[in-house]
Symmetry: C2
Subunit: 152 residues, 2 copies
């Protein structure tokens, strides 16, 4: 069965596996992490069967690990995804991504009059309700649902 | 080595494998085929090592086969990709995608004055030089490089 063998994707020796991504957010996560312009070998699974999510996505990136800020960007569109850091085929660390308490310079404020949209400065939102994804801009003090933020 | 097993992606039982996609066009092909909105299980490999292309991409779509018009759209951005139709783990047909002689209603004419941009009608280009990807609009008769066409 040479065909069968040819169709297998190799296991990840070193890198990051991002798992349990809701399928509808998979390509958003790809784009948020800038993976289209990456030089790393990447495997993506889309609409895979998942007992928990119905359909899920998974991304495996060889030889790359992510910073906290990058993980926070993912949290904004797809909280509860699981990042596994792989070294020598073994999971050495697992992170369950969750919305952090503060979102610093990750998203634009939807209020056009907010000073952060009119001065060259970092944005800063406090997450006031993690379950429902409610955030508050520290500058204009307006409250938004996280779905309405525009990721920078 | 349960970790290793978990990271393998299953072979395709039925569906289409699109192979030898130049990496820089991989996400364009995903988008041209509308795969982001597909319900099929899809596996994507990006920046995989290839002797012929340096880095290549591969897309495997379960339980889906493509029409000629869809394949012609791929040909416009990524000629020479290879489509394999899989049934019961076996390749039953292989197509080497090439630019067809006629591109009917696949791309917009870059000439804003062309009648096809001003009337509700199909566009039609003749490929006048396949190697260099030179096409001619049958209506305004202007000649373009295929890279300058805007895919509909």
């Amino acid at each position: 069965m040479t065909n069968k063998k040819e169709l297998l994707v190799a296991a990840l020796e070193n890198g990051t596996v991002i798992d349990h991504i809701p399928s509808e957010h998979l390509f958003e996560v790809v784009s948020l992490l800038g993976l289209e312009n990456s030089d790393n070998s990447i495997t993506i699974g889309f609409n895979l069967e998942s007992k928990k999510l119905g359909k899920k996505g998974i991304i495996k990136i060889a030889d790359r690990y992510f910073h906290k800020e990058e993980i926070d960007r993912i949290a904004l569109v797809a909280p509860n995804v699981i990042l596994s850091m792989i070294r020598n085929f073994q999971v050495v660390e697992k992170i369950c991504v969750e919305l952090p308490a503060d979102l610093v310079n990750i998203a634009k404020c939807p209020n056009p009059k907010c000073i952060t949209n009119n001065e060259p400065m970092k944005t800063h939102f406090k997450v006031v309700n993690k379950e429902d994804g409610i955030v508050k801009c520290l500058y204009c003090e307006r409250v938004f649902e996280k779905e309405n933020l525009i990721i920078r």
